[in-house]
């Protein structure tokens, strides 16, 4: 039967051409999408409550634009790309270098945030319960910082196992996805930065 022959041939070509997208990739993309939904609600709350605080301190009195931290975080996106690129070329040395740079930049961001909070709490007496500004500020920035922290933990784990001699090249996919997550955290910072330090002031 001609039909059946056509079928078999058809099936074979199908099988060869059938390359659906990588599941890890799909997973991480949709994880990022839900995280975006989560952040957007915190951002919305921040926007709604701008200027609604009943008592001070108000943003314009106490917030300083964290230029250096921002530069660090944003450039870490570049360095993590360079690291991942190096890994894809199997250049372990360069990978390690850029990875460590990324971690340093991320750490610098976290430290800067910590110092900012310390100043706000102990000098300006702004806590999460002081007023609506405090509530929305700490929760939004804190949510972002917690994401940076999680990213940082994963970055450190990768670094640790690499330094211990684990063949990290075999895990290239996972490293790649981690770098995407890191880019996402950076992108969120752009939004948070705009909302908190520019619109909100």
């Amino acid at each position: 039967m001609a039909d059946n022959e056509a079928l078999t041939a058809d099936a074979l070509t199908l099988e060869q051409q059938w390359t659906p997208p990588d599941r890890g990739k799909v997973g991480i993309i949709f994880l990022i999408i839900t995280e975006t939904a989560l952040f957007s609600i915190f951002v919305a709350a921040y926007l709604v409550y701008i200027g609604k605080s009943l008592v001070g301190p108000y943003p314009k009195d106490v917030l300083e634009i964290p230029i250096i931290a921002t530069i660090c975080l944003l450039s870490s996106s570049l360095t993590v790309y360079l690291a991942e690129h190096a890994l894809s070329k199997n250049e372990l040395g360069r990978f390690k270098f850029w990875w460590i740079v990324t971690i340093c930049l991320g750490l610098e961001f976290l430290v800067a945030t910590g110092l900012e909070w310390k100043k706000l709490i102990y000098e300006d007496h702004l806590t999460i319960s002081t007023n609506l500004f405090g509530s929305t500020f700490y929760s939004l920035v804190g949510l972002h910082a917690s994401h940076v922290t999680v990213g940082m933990i994963f970055l450190l784990i990768v670094l640790a196992v690499t330094l211990m001699g684990f063949p990290i090249q075999t895990q290239f996919r996972r490293v790649l996805f981690l770098s995407w997550y890191w880019h996402f955290v950076d992108a969120v910072w752009v939004v948070v930065f705009t909302v908190v330090y520019i619109v909100g002031r």
Binding site: A11, F166, P167, T170, Q171
Partner: protein, 289 residues
Amino acid sequence: MSHEIHHGEAGERTEQSHIELPHPTFWPMVFAFGITLLCAGLVTHWAVSAVGFVLAFRAALGWWHDLIPIEKYEEVPVDPAHRPAPIMVETRTVVRLKLGESGHRVHVPESARPYSAGIRGGLAGGVAMAGLACLYGLIAQHSIWYPINLLAGVVIPDMGSQSLEQLRAFNGLAFVAAFIGHGVLSILMGIVYAAILPMFPKHAPFWAGILMPLFWSGLVATTLNILNPVLNERISWPWFVVCQLAFGLIGGYVIARSTNIHTMQSWSIAERAKLEAPGIRPPREDSDK
């Protein structure tokens, strides 16, 4: 790790003796339990959180171990006693939609008026109707804005409290509301009409052009006090019906004048792409247009 996957027809058997599946592990369960305890500590005691943290941490390590360096697999034996019954070719035939034709797998109808004809018809009917209504406004109230303002009374509440003077004057908001409302309704009506026209018997389109507006007028008459109280107070029913008829007849005419095109819905993709050899279906005259 060999990771061959064999493809075949549904239900086909394999010669492999084993198939690889992910290895069972309870670490995800422990991880979930740890996280739950971590949260529960908030409302019970910090020690609960601590236990939760330890569990979750240990479980995370265990979980990673299942994934890295390579995902753990187990080889599940293919069970020859547990095989699907072969899929039998059915003896049943499929009823044809019309006897003697190949059309037992179809998208109906086979030919139809193009949607563009519906839009044109709706617009033509709408213009005719609006023209007549404005004519009425001019004759009865010396203002073409009068019927437009009345129509806008569907959506705008304070139309009701307006004086005759105000109703005669141009009102920007009312104009926009009436224009959008009338336009959208006309076009949608035209599309519906064009879509269902092929389903009517032969002379029905003409009668539909007359009967539908009458039916519609009747419906409107019973509900107008809620739909549009302003219009209800001031409507002139003869003119209203005439306007509706104008829509039905002119819109219907424009649509009916267009020619049917083949929907090609009943064609297979292969046919539509002209890949299929001829002979699968009887030749047609007006295949495209």
